[in-house]
Symmetry: C2
Subunit: 238 residues, 2 copies
């Protein structure tokens, strides 16, 4: 094994790491959730690296433990040649990863710190969520998704920006189909790119494995129930 | 000018960028808040780079616009030689930057998405905030803050990890002194490092300039009033 990933048996943040590991052809296993819970609760002095919340990645060859999704992704991207060489595009790749991380925070009311209320969801679904979709779409437009000559997204060799984009939007659309429809309307190129990346053989195999393990779950917990309640109610109203 | 920084006239996230720019000896100016408000509200297709929220950095030489604090800091750290060469320590530096970003999110209830309530604050101040402090302290302990032979924090030449640590904790302690006291009790080495970094001549000059411009303000807005109300009430009770 090259890596051990500690994350809940859920797609959400975990799929970002899994997309990259699968695409890089890395050998990894997933830590048992009870081990994850134990690691998370340890006094910081006893943790392999002092950290607050998963995902945690153990890079066996480097003897390195990491938390923080952007740090994990950049480390893997660097180690597996998935980052643009141009410093500006490398910086924009990290910006895109941080954007994706923000979308995860927002769609879960900061990982369930509060639950969704109708008015808040309606506002989010009418303003910030489509704006996030447009940010990704416009990023794609400027970096090659239109012309077939991609410079950061939609290149011949998918890089970290493509993988993070698909891990965000394909996962959301597959688990919450109503939001998949919203994505196709607001960000058709990003939707198509995400489908294409998710269909790459190694990634498709990983998704199938994870779907068998975790079913329809997206982010889990009470916040997933709250999110689904908003989407179902919207369905009934329209 | 090498850079233009667009941020509200506040320390909070802005000071992370200012610490790095000041330490690097870069020439920068600050965009007018009305220009920032205009940039933020533009349709994404008209923004210099599609982005949601400040800080925004315009790197004039590179012709690059960036948002997302971790992306801005890593770009500056790379360009100004402030990142460790060792990939593991570079990854841990980004992890630390993301940790700092999370502390900013948590102390402002995700930038004012909700206001502080007494019970929530008491819980945060008793659990997660000291845990964050302990995470930084333990990171320092493992990376050289004890032995005087720093490998990532407290090295002879301050790097991005030191600058981000000080931008987080010195700023918080200076603007909200009660939390400065909590830091000195929970993370004495980090408190001392933060003082030392903030006292470097270029950084001290930047802080003095900004204090003259923005007074006692920390994160601004209703959420700062909510946070100060919690701290004042705590003062009265003890």
């Amino acid at each position: 094994m090259d890596y051990t990933l500690y994350y809940w048996p859920l797609p959400f943040r975990g799929h970002f790491v899994r997309y990259v590991l699968a695409h890089a052809g890395a050998a990894w296993d997933e830590g048992d959730p009870s081990d994850l819970a134990r690691l998370k609760a340890l006094p910081v002095g006893e943790q392999p690296v002092p950290f607050m919340a998963p995902p945690f990645l153990h890079d066996h060859a480097a003897g390195l433990w990491l938390s923080q999704l952007p740090a994990i992704l950049l480390h893997l991207g660097r180690g597996h040649g998935l980052l643009p060489e141009d410093p500006a595009r490398a910086a924009l790749t990290l910006k895109l990863v941080c954007d994706a991380n923000d979308v995860l925070e927002e769609i879960t009311c900061n990982c369930g710190r509060t639950m969704w209320a109708r008015a808040d969801w309606d506002d989010f679904a009418a303003t910030r969520l489509p704006r996030w979709m447009a940010i990704f779409e416009e990023t794609g437009r400027r970096h090659g998704l239109t012309a077939g000559a991609g410079t950061m997204l939609g290149t011949d060799a998918p890089g970290l920006a493509d993988l993070a984009t698909a891990a965000l939007w394909h996962t959301m659309g597959a688990k919450l189909p109503r939001l998949g429809g919203m994505l196709r309307r607001n960000a058709p190129r990003v939707a198509a790119l995400s489908e294409r990346i998710a269909a790459l053989p190694e990634i498709a195999a990983m998704i199938a494995r994870e779907d068998a393990r975790t079913g329809a779950a997206y982010c889990g917990g009470q916040i997933e129930r709250s999110l689904r309640a908003m989407l179902e109610e919207t369905e009934h109203r329209t």
